[in-house]
């Protein structure tokens, strides 16, 4: 069977099974095994244990459970809530200030949390009721949370960068650094949009109430104190990586311990909170890792059948020039982002795209960050916007998916603009890693 036929059969059945509602992890693993059997017989089914065992023993992936754990503790212990109140006091007097504060909160949370799901749940729980109470336009409030929450993937630590780094052999430390510039750029774009929109149309986002604005300086300072612990935690984690104490994997352990300490200091490290954090983490780890396991089996079978080579040859043979191919890849990622989950996209497609990118002479680090920028859009795009699913879980019950998609639309446009900026001005991505890591 030719690689082209294999490609059609494997990906065709993949999408069909996915649409029927088979979990992603089972789909990829089963298809990988089915085609292995079909092409090479029963003797090669050991591929599943070989692949899973390889993933099990990867030191870089150790960061995933620990960063997720850290995020869950911060959520359970109420530290995130403190943060929001502090930021809100300072930004509240602006029209749209609460929504802007939400984005700022997302950036700070992003620097402590590795998954977008946790970010969105937290901000959804804390910021959404607040904004709705103060008469914010629902679309504005929902859009700000969904897009802001996805920023957690760009701002280090980020589980997506860890998975990308492990899959493609890029330095995770450099990817982390590379995500900061675009993360701030995206956050900045969102804030500019929110403030402009609310300035022009104050009903979209009214300023804080008289009482809140007339808080004494002492009270404000008191609230600001609650910023201290989280910021120390961020410095501890990022500092550990960049001042030579720990690898990114180990920094996740420091972060988790730090989060436990923060919760203890805040006196919210109760048995109940700890239990919730442990259980929620275990669930997330299970679902992430089994997606990776399944995708590894699928992609290994596809590669052995000559598929990856076929993709590489077909892409480089296109008469589009390097930039044309790069843009085509981005469009493919956008399309995939509509239906596929972003971990699946990374594990399945990064190994096929990165060799082409290297061959075309692009910087693979830059592409790695671009890849993840693209996944930001995937987070919001219908029918499968994972950001929106998380948000739906914590939003008032009368919020429909359609409303969520509509509210995400302006932010998706901003993401596209941000991505074009990063493509045209690579230093947005590459400057920080080149300065921080020589």
């Amino acid at each position: 069977m030719s690689p082209a036929e294999i490609t059609i059969l494997m990906f065709g059945s993949f999408f069909i099974l996915l649409m029927v509602g088979v979990p992603l992890a089972w789909t990829t693993a089963a298809l990988g095994l089915f085609f292995t059997y079909f092409l090479w017989g029963v003797g090669n089914l050991n591929i599943i244990v070989l692949r899973i065992y390889d993933v099990m023993g990867s030191f870089s992936l150790v960061a995933i459970p620990l960063f997720v754990f850290m995020g869950n503790i911060l959520q359970q212990s109420g530290i995130a809530e403190d943060l929001f109140h502090a930021i809100h006091v300072w930004l509240g007097r602006l029209k749209g200030g609460l929504a802007a504060a939400t984005i700022v909160l997302c950036c700070i949370l992003g620097a402590m949390i590795g998954t977008a799901g946790a970010d969105i749940t937290i901000t959804g729980l804390i910021c959404l009721p607040f904004m709705l109470q103060r008469g914010y336009d629902r679309k504005m409030a929902l859009g700000a949370i969904a897009s802001g929450g996805a920023l957690g993937v760009l701002i280090p630590p980020s589980i997506m960068f860890i998975i990308y780094g492990v899959t493609t052999g890029q330095s995770i430390g450099k990817l982390f650094m590379g995500g900061i510039g675009p993360g701030l750029l995206f956050g900045g774009l969102y804030i500019v949009y929110i403030l402009t929109k609310c300035h022009l149309n104050p009903t979209a986002g009214p300023p804080a109430t008289e009482d809140e604005r007339n808080m004494t300086f002492r009270e404000k300072l008191g609230l600001t104190r609650s910023l201290l612990l989280p910021i120390l935690l961020i410095i501890a984690v990022m500092g550990a990586i960049f001042f030579g104490v720990a690898t990114p994997g180990e920094a996740s352990g420091i972060g988790a311990l730090g989060a436990l300490v923060c919760a203890a200091v805040r006196k919210t490290l109760t048995w109940g909170n700890l239990k919730q954090s442990l259980f929620a983490t275990m669930k997330t780890v299970g679902l992430i890792m089994w997606i990776v396991f399944g995708a590894m089996v699928f992609i290994c079978t596809y590669t052995l059948a000559g598929g990856a080579e076929f993709v590489r040859e077909s892409l480089t043979a296109l008469p589009l020039g390097p930039w044309g191919i790069l843009i085509l890849m981005q469009l493919i990622l956008l399309a995939l982002g509509m239906v596929l989950d972003i971990i699946g996209i990374t594990v399945l497609f990064a190994p096929m795209f990165v060799p082409v990118i290297k061959e075309l002479g692009f910087d693979p680090l830059w592409f790695g960050v671009l890849f993840n920028l693209n996944l930001q859009i995937a987070y919001l795009s219908p029918p499968f916007g994972y950001s929106l699913f998380y948000l739906k879980g914590v939003a008032p019950s009368d919020v429909t998916m359609t409303e969520l998609y509509k509210s995400a639309l302006p932010f998706m446009l901003l993401q596209v603009i941000g991505m074009i900026i990063c493509m045209l001005f690579p230093p947005v991505i590459t400057w920080l890693p080149s300065v921080m890591i020589k």
């Binding site: 509602g21 088979v22 890792m289």
Partner: protein, 168 residues
């Protein structure tokens, strides 16, 4: 049957909750390793591998736990439009078949593999050089509980499809 199915659910729940304690162990162990190396210049020879092994246990054991809590990611754009009965029918004939195909092979292969490790005494070959059977054994154990969880779901899907169980 009902008893069996809820017993399986219970096992998956407990497995996830019990092994989640490893998060605390790994957190402390990683910090201990950093402390020893950075401040005392004496890293252990076992730290790295032990961390990997403990995390591997969580990855594997998280499988059935994520299943019983229905956390595994899937596309339900279309399936959410179907009636519970149709959904269950399609699950019986597609989702569960796909699952058993993958998980059956996994149980079988990991059993062979774990047995090989026990029989031949293979080690990791690193400086610490622990045996590999615990890691391979965990993979087998986790595959079995995942398989059982899938079986419980299969039984329920059949019951729903036959109208003998209502979906809550």
């Amino acid at each position: 049957m009902e008893k069996l199915v809820s017993a399986i659910d219970h096992i998956s729940e407990c497995q996830g909750k019990i092994f989640s304690v490893l998060l605390l162990v790994v957190t402390l162990q990683v910090c201990y390793e950093v402390l020893r190396r950075y401040f005392f210049g004496s890293p252990t020879i076992w730290g790295l591998e032990l961390t990997e092994f403990l995390c591997a246990i969580m990855y594997i054991m998280g499988g059935a736990y994520a299943s019983v809590t229905d956390a595994h990611i899937k596309v339900d754009v279309f399936s959410s439009l179907w009636s519970p009965k149709t959904r269950a029918l399609i699950d019986v004939f597609v989702t569960d078949v796909v699952f058993f195909l993958f998980c059956g092979v996994l149980v079988w292969q990991s059993a062979v593999w774990a047995w090989e490790a026990i029989a031949s005494g293979i080690t990791t070959g690193s400086m610490w050089d622990p045996p590999v059977w615990p890691a391979r054994g965990i993979l087998f154990l986790g595959s079995v509980t995942l398989f059982l969880q899938g079986f419980a779901k299969f039984v329920r899907d059949i019951q729903v499809a036959l109208g003998k169980r209502s979906v809550t």
